[in-house]
Symmetry: C2
């Protein structure tokens, strides 16, 4: 027989049956009264409610979940930064993505559980997750397959396309980068350089390909500096490399920083290396960092729209969960170029 696992020191919690006994009614009646279901006389309903209130009754959420067959809980894990599993929140992109995911889910009655970046399904097998959001999986990581094998619906970026149970939302990396480069060119840039993370997400692969194609189509030289790890230090170092390295192809006259860095620091690095922005160098940062609006000059950014990605994706996931669909579905979200002073060539010279 099961002994109720009573915590020492805690008063045992009030259960439905306690309320029923107190009110002189049955469990069913009280349940119906509290949930607003069934057809009960107003008097009885009020009696049940009153007793529940008086006794401080709160339904046991776990029991409800068991009955309902789902927990209304979704996991959230990021693919990148497995080496430092919690730093992702310090990136404005992921902070916004995470917040908007939680907000959207909660609005639909689902709660979001934070999972460490790069962790695997079996590390949190004890959580009753209805689905998992995998933000920016890296190429070849096991997490997505792991989840699908376990029969857990997955929501992620487009790299999961085609696997049953895997749904996606993504921004079009190629279009985004082409748009930014076209803008720079229109403002007069002829030798745009790029700073790119070394990571292996689908987005970064798309960025690299788009940049190469764009340069090739215009017979322009490529100039790429890779950053080893996330963080302002490495990115600033890469910016300096991009601005100073290899003399032969000429100094770059524009810079597209795809790695996440603080815009004011990027500007400062440019200045330090003898560039006045935007006179000598047009600058665009792929960034969600709000400081971009407050620099002098203000910094042009390419936003990957994490909030829209999260909102659209989560809505789609909810729909899939409630309808029990299983075929892959996907949605594109457009990126947005916020043109500010740093990328507008001043009139004449």
């Amino acid at each position: 027989m099961t002994e109720a696992p009573r915590r020492p020191g805690k008063p045992p919690r009030v259960r439905l049956v306690d309320v029923a006994r107190e009110a002189g009614l049955s469990k069913t009646t009280v349940s119906a009264a509290l949930n607003g279901t069934g057809r009960l006389s107003p008097a009885v309903r009020e009696k049940a409610r009153e007793a529940a209130r008086r006794m401080g009754y709160r339904p046991n959420a776990t029991a409800r979940q068991l009955r309902a067959g789902r927990a209304r809980l979704i996991g959230y894990v990021v693919g990148e930064r497995a080496h430092a599993p919690w730093t992702f929140l310090e990136s404005p992109y992921f902070a916004q993505l995470t917040g908007a995911t939680a907000a959207t889910a909660l609005r639909r009655g689902y709660a979001v559980v934070l999972l460490p970046a790069g962790s695997l399904q079996q590390e949190w097998a004890d959580l009753p997750l209805d689905a998992v959001v995998v933000a920016d999986p890296v190429a070849g990581d096991r997490i997505v397959d792991d989840l699908l094998a376990a029969g857990i619906p997955v929501f992620s970026d487009r790299s999961v396309e085609g696997r049953a149970g895997a749904h996606w939302v993504d921004v079009d990396a190629s279009a985004a980068i082409r748009g930014a480069l076209d803008h720079l060119r229109q403002e007069g840039a002829r030798r745009p350089a790029m700073v790119l993370p070394g990571s292996a997400t689908g987005f970064h692969a798309g960025v690299l390909a788009a940049y190469r194609d764009w340069c090739a189509a215009r017979a322009l030289p490529e100039r790429i500096a890779h950053t080893a790890t996330p963080g302002n230090g490495p990115v600033i170092a890469a910016v300096e490399r991009a601005l100073t390295g290899c003399e032969k192809s000429g100094r770059p006259d524009a810079l597209l920083v795809v790695a996440e860095a603080s815009p004011p620091l990027v500007l400062e690095a440019a200045r330090r290396n003898g560039y006045e922005v935007p006179r000598d160098l047009l600058l665009v940062c792929v960034s969600e960092d709000m400081t971009a609006e407050h620099t002098r000059p203000t910094t042009t950014t390419l936003s990957l729209r994490p909030q829209e990605v999260a909102r659209v994706g989560t809505e789609l996931l909810m729909a899939v969960l409630e309808e029990g669909r299983t075929e892959t579905s996907g949605v594109w979200v457009p990126s947005r170029l916020d043109v500010r002073e740093s990328s507008r060539r001043p009139r004449s010279g």
Copy 2:
């Protein structure tokens, strides 16, 4: 009779009883085999495990929780920023606090659920939370009382002290501010100004009191600029007010920015107003923003140690949960002044 709430299209999940039938054993035996409990013959144990593996069995976490009497889930809600319930993640302080809370909890087998800032217990009553962490409650908000009334253990800062079931961890605002001001004075500052958020957290109240006492004790003039809302714009505006306002008491020669802002932007604002840091103005920012290490000059920061606060607090909470203690317990975490170039007076003038 209850019809199993079957999702359309989903293959029904493998249950313990299915594995038992397949293996020709009883539920009990299979359960014991998989959990490593009981005394079973190695052969039987292996047979059960093999069947489970083959059938892709995964235990139903909700059922286990119901049995266990708890969900190993803790909620995380912040008191501030109720007007924009998800922006807290974009603050480096909360990003680190949140990440470290989740990390510590998960290490002890608890998962963290993100809740919107300023929300109330009843909005997430359906979640089986074993406890809730309330980060930086604001004076007079209902959330803590709400939770305690519902019998849910609460972990928060020291402002909850004395209420049964409420445990806390905090940094000593007075000591932190005194330390920073003493440092500035030692470097030669005589007219330190301060930028402070308008918010009503216990920490900010402590900061204000400490600053006033410190100035009074030295017969120095107070100069305080308040920021209306979080965000770089308002804080930078307050910085400019602090640096330019009221001529009578003389220009400030040091600035302590308690509101969270990007250090490079604060430096830039100082420069724009004719101050060269550190020659004309010693600068200390209360900030966890890593950009402080990369500015020129590098920026002195006062760290509130969110990661340590989270770690210590969460460990304490876990201990309380497992032991069922109910008396309030509390811990202090020391703040840390990272002295960098912006607050070191250059030799002579």
